[in-house]
Amino acid sequence: MDIARKNASQHDSTQHYEILQELGDCYCSMGDYEKARKYYENAAVLEPDEAAPYVGLGVVALQNNQMDDAHAAFKVACRLDNTCAKAYSGLGMVAQQNNDYRYAFDMYLKSLELDSENLIGILGLFQTSCQMGSFEQVTHYLEMYLDMHPGDTSVMYPLAALYMKDGKIEASQNVLRDILVLDPKNKDAANLLEEIEHNLAQAQNV
């Protein structure tokens, strides 16, 4: 085939893989885990060195409550790509389900070191901290995340709770008020703010 090569666009040899992976992600988000699994498996066959299909398979197994399969899939993903933050948060989720909070905490922390914007890692870290009663390091990651995603109320609320727990009452109030500006119907924030203000009023009365 004789053709002007210098005018050819840069080709992408991974289209087929990307289509399968995207379909897997769509079906997974739609809750059709059987179809999602089929597409992730096909994607893994096409690109056996890619971690993403195994992350998808791990998520599908997790949704189906197949913790061993999920663990195995996330492990493969980590082996294929040891910088895959989603794979580490997946391992965290499996460990959390198995009540292994220490390991879950480590995995969430690792995932946040690789990608500080990983929401699952952030929330998982917060939850395992609550479960273990240890909140060191969590505040830092929540603040960092919110620097990059200001207005994400799903992270603002845990941060407000942490501030309150650490005695940073004013900071906690500010965050809660910000949440209510963004989402006036947020009952959790409203309740927590009310509780703080009630406590403050009581303290003043005492």
Partner: protein
């Protein structure tokens, strides 16, 4: 679905040479036989490869003419052999490892029957990147329309931009172009498309009507292997550029280059060699030589013309003699020491061709006061010399009111290619937004709208402007969806959590990649 033609369908020849690829040949031949257009004569040429008789016979189709040669003579020979048997109004081609979609022939016949100003039409094809297993089976990894360029005659003279298997031409054009050049072992296709461009415009149909395969990694294609020998490749390019079909040429005006040298020595030889290597516009080179030299000269350069002149004659007299002999509508005059480099003549010539004004000549770009060259219309220089034969060349041009100038930047050829290169460079530097802007500018000012918009959409997506990328893809997908634009639009839909829409787009893309659109495969 078979067509119900009310009028008489012209006969179409489809030529498919094959050599040692029976595993793909069957699929290729089947794709021809499954065309919606039925009035075809299919000429299969086995170019001395593995016997494929059983494959051909298995179809039991009387439209197939099978030339089963035992000796291997190459692609050009095979095509010429097939053309001798061809009786159709039109000719199309397919390589033995590629395939047509069912409406390929119908699309091109319709175009040529309705666009009688064009005797060649071509469509777009997918380039299918694939992994090839040990048993020869192919797994498609992606399908992209890499080249979808509108016909550009000037560029066609420089290099090819029309896939041979995507085109159909009137058979009688071969009588004008001459047969495929059997001396070439690469770029055989371009040699023919280039010669076709002397006689007709090409019509670009914005429809994907087939695919050609490109194995990932090392490729054993003969043409790819041959390209690796650079010396051989350059030899082929030079031969193609020097080829001049028989006149008249309705679409190209000839160029005569008059080389004002006073002796045949090494310097002259080097300049001739450089002209041969660096000139892509069709030309004949005219050289003044003494009677003594004239009798002793021989050359294999077909477009070199020696004109016998007496050394006693003045330079102007020699020039006038050469002018009389020259047959081109454009005349270039170069002095002995003029440096020859890429586009040395094409830049000013293109400016001249596209300048609508009269009595203008373009100086070659490296011209100085003491050593200058010029290109201009023959009628202008002839008049000047006739009116002022006793004056020097420059004085006669001035005296007859011919304005000489160097070409401005915007008058130069291949602007489209320069801009595309700029966009590629921007992409390589990670400046995707700038690349997108260049593509959009090209789409607005230099045709090739769909192709440029596809590239722009991809660049916008990479630049993070996903909304705009998706809008552009949506617009393209309404006209001519491709796997790339479907995938890109779907990605944005998924990110917007519009999963149903994303799945719909991805399913079409997947079916295209899998070839499910054509279940007969």
């Amino acid at each position: 679905m078979k067509r119900d033609y009310k009028k008489i369908e012209p006969l179409v020849n489809v030529i498919i040479p094959t050599f040692n690829r029976p595993q793909y040949f069957q699929k290729a031949l089947k794709s021809i036989l499954n065309q919606s257009y039925e009035n075809m004569q299919i000429i299969v040429v086995n170019d001395g490869g593995q016997d494929v008789s059983d494959i051909v016979e298995s179809f039991c189709d009387s439209r197939i003419l099978f030339i089963n040669r035992k000796e291997n003579y190459g692609k050009a020979f095979s095509l010429n052999e097939a053309l001798k048997y061809a009786q159709g109004k039109y000719v199309a081609y397919l390589d033995d490892d590629d395939m047509f979609y069912p409406e390929h022939i119908e699309t091109l016949v319709d175009t040529l029957e309705n666009r009688t100003d064009c005797q060649v039409a071509y469509s777009d094809l997918y380039k299918a990147y694939c992994k090839v297993s040990q048993d020869g089976s192919r797994q498609v990894l992606s399908k992209t329309v890499e080249v979808s360029r509108d016909f550009d005659r000037f560029f066609m003279l420089h290099f090819n931009h029309v896939l041979h298997v995507s085109l159909m031409h009137r058979r009688d054009l071969i009588e004008k172009t001459g047969p495929y050049n059997e001396n070439l072992n690469v770029l055989i296709d371009w040699d023919m498309t280039r010669r076709l461009a002397f006689f007709t415009d090409f019509y670009h149909v914005y429809k994907i009507t087939g695919e050609y395969y490109h194995p990932m990694g090392d490729c054993d294609r003969i043409s790819v292997q041959q390209r690796k020998n650079k010396q051989n490749y350059v030899r082929n390019v030079v031969e193609i550029r020097a080829s001049r079909p028989e006149k008249p040429w309705p679409k190209i005006k000839d160029l005569s280059i008059i080389f004002m040298t006073n002796r045949l020595d090494r310097q002259t030889g080097q300049t001739i060699g450089a002209i041969r290597q660096h000139t892509f516009y069709p030309y004949k080179l005219y050289l003044p030589v003494s009677q003594k030299d004239f009798n002793g000269i021989s050359t294999d350069m077909k477009n070199l013309v020696f004109v016998s002149v007496s050394p006693e004659r003045s330079q102007e007299e020699q020039l006038d003699l050469l002018l009389m002999q020259s047959e081109g509508e454009y005349i270039a005059i170069i002095p002995r020491e003029y440096p020859i480099r890429d586009r040395w003549i094409e830049n000013p010539l293109y400016a001249l061709i596209n300048n609508r004004g009269d009595r203008i000549g373009y100086l070659l770009e490296d011209s100085t006061d003491s050593m200058w060259g010029v290109v201009l219309k023959k009628e202008d220089i002839s008049k000047a010399r006739k009116m002022f034969p006793h004056l020097s060349l420059l004085d006669s041009l001035n005296a007859s009111g011919i304005k000489l100038k160097k070409p401005e930047f915007e008058e130069l050829p291949l602007q489209f290619d320069n801009m595309i290169q700029q966009a590629f460079n921007a992409q390589n530097d990670g400046n995707w937004m700038h690349a997108a802007q260049i593509y959009e500018y090209i789409a607005e000012n230099h045709n090739n709208e769909l192709w440029m918009k596809s590239l722009s959409a991809n660049a916008l997506y990479k630049a993070g402007n996903k909304q705009l990328a998706a809008c552009l893809c949506h617009e393209i997908n309404q006209q001519r969806p491709t796997v790339s634009t479907l995938l890109l639009e779907a990605k944005v839909k998924r990110e917007e959590k519009k999963y149903d829409e994303a799945v719909e787009l991805l399913t079409i893309a997947e079916r295209t990649i899998d070839g499910m659109e054509y279940l007969w495969t």
